[in-house]
Amino acid sequence: MSRRAIVGAASVGVVILAWQLMGVFGLLKPPFFVPPSAVLAAGAVELVSPRFWNDVYVSGQELVYGYALAAVTAIPFGLAVGWYVRLGYLFEPLMGFMNALPRIALMPLILLTLGFGLWSIVTVVFLGVFFTVAINTVQGVRVVEPRYLDVARSYRARDLTRFRTVVLPSAIPFVVAGLRLGIGRALIGVVIGELYAANAGLGHMIRAASNSLQTDRLLFATLFLIVVSLVVSEALRSLERRVAPWRAGVSLAAGT
């Protein structure tokens, strides 16, 4: 084990231990704040509860629908808008606006239009993911090294060939980076959506736990989400390396 891993683990361990000790010495005030052991205990109960797994299923379904829908539409859209300069001009202001808008502000509107449940949440997820993926894709297409396009033109590559052999390969790392960032957005979308407009799912569970002051369940649900988000984004990071073995990986600004 590297020194980095040891110190890192110790850093996390010390905080958790201190937190636990505060609980042991009665410095935490349940139910508002509970020690880690209580969170784990709640977790043990939840992990065997069918209701919890139903919540996971509901959230997962919304996440997958919204994410897949967004990815399938945003990638072709981004490729087209990036490649055809004029199409780009046409859509830039709207894309910029939608990306700058805290999409959660649309929540009341979505709730009004689509009501409680699946499709409201799918829409929230979709809106979160679509613009992230689309904007990354557009950027990927636009930052293609002009030199490579010159090479393709020198060999009289047709438009489609140029797109396939030059634009697409150089855009792919950006697309995947967009997809990775999108996962974070999707998770947040599910939680936000469910906080407002659901009667099942992890967000709903968090809201219910918060309303009934079950801090242990709330923290467990949050922990669960953190783990899922870390696992998925790590998986996509390794995918990122796999799709572009020819480069070290695009480092985009960090963020979920």
Binding site: Y148, D150, V151, S154, Y155, R156, R158, T161, T165
Partner: protein
């Protein structure tokens, strides 16, 4: 009977519009140049004299403000698929293997995959990269990358090879070796070559003719015949006749380089 030039450039004029002032800047002024079949011609000139612009015009990446380019007496536009181009470093696609890079021109021509494979193999052999066909460019040294670059240009069996400072990014020793390798490949394939460089000794060593260009706007200052016998060993660079030629060209260029230094402030790349 007068032999028709392989490549004929006549009355070439190139102006760029300046974005800010919307005034124009003349980069190439009334340039005429004929290159015979199988001839190795090199252009030397100060930075910014329009050497690369000229190459890009011949290659069709830029259209000239006026003037004509003929290949075998026909407008170049129709014949451009027969041009092979070697750019400076880092023009291999990093996402393709060396083999796919070398076959890229053929791929663009719609050649079947099996035939591409068959034609690429001997080329890799010729440039000494047989063992590296499935490597990615970043796994190759600079010299190897430029060999792959050359192989890519040769793969389409071009009638004219355009080379834009292909060795500029290499270290001095590798550069020497690459020069002699290029000559030996040229002897075997005997393409018509239009080569661009900053380095006077490189120009003399490689060429049948050296064209000396002026500072911007680019004009031809001198068109010099290089008399050395072929094949040429690298050692001829120490021949007194060679150094005399070098000195002669430097005398022609020095004033141009100085004036380019003053006009090219912050021009960059």
């Amino acid at each position: 009977m007068i032999a028709q030039p392989k490549l004929a450039i006549a009355g070439l004029q190139m102006e760029f519009l300046r974005r800010r002032t919307s005034s124009s800047m003349v980069v190439i002024e009334n340039l005429d140049l004929d290159i015979r079949d199988h001839e190795f011609v090199t252009i030397v000139g100060p930075s910014g004299c329009g050497k690369s612009t000229l190459l890009n015009i011949v290659n069709g990446l830029l259209s000239p403000t006026s003037g004509t380019i003929l290949i075998d007496g026909a407008p170049a536009a129709a014949r451009r698929s027969r041009l092979g181009v070697v750019f400076q470093d880092a023009s291999l696609f990093p996402w393709f293997t060396v083999e796919r890079n070398v076959g890229y021109g053929l791929e663009c021509l719609g050649t079947p995959r099996s035939e591409i494979r068959a034609r690429v193999a001997p080329l890799l052999e010729m440039v000494g990269l047989s063992a590296f066909g499935s490597h990615f460019p970043h796994e190759l040294s600079g010299g190897m990358q430029q060999r792959a670059n050359l192989a890519r240009a040769l793969a389409i069996d071009p009638e004219i090879l355009l080379m834009d400072e292909p060795f500029a990014a290499l270290d001095a020793q590798t550069r020497e070796i690459m020069q002699s390798e290029l000559l030996s490949i040229w002897t075997r394939t005997h393409k018509t070559v239009l080569f661009i460089t900053h380095q006077i000794s490189e120009a003399i060593y490689l060429s049948d003719r050296v064209i000396v260009m002026s500072a911007r706007p680019g004009r031809i200052l001198a068109d010099l015949h290089i008399p050395f016998d072929r094949p040429r060993a690298l050692s001829i660079k120490r021949d007194p006749e060679f150094t005399a030629a070098e000195e002669h060209i430097w005398e022609l260029l020095e004033a141009q380089v100085r004036s380019a230094l003053e006009t090219n402030v912050a021009r960059g790349g």
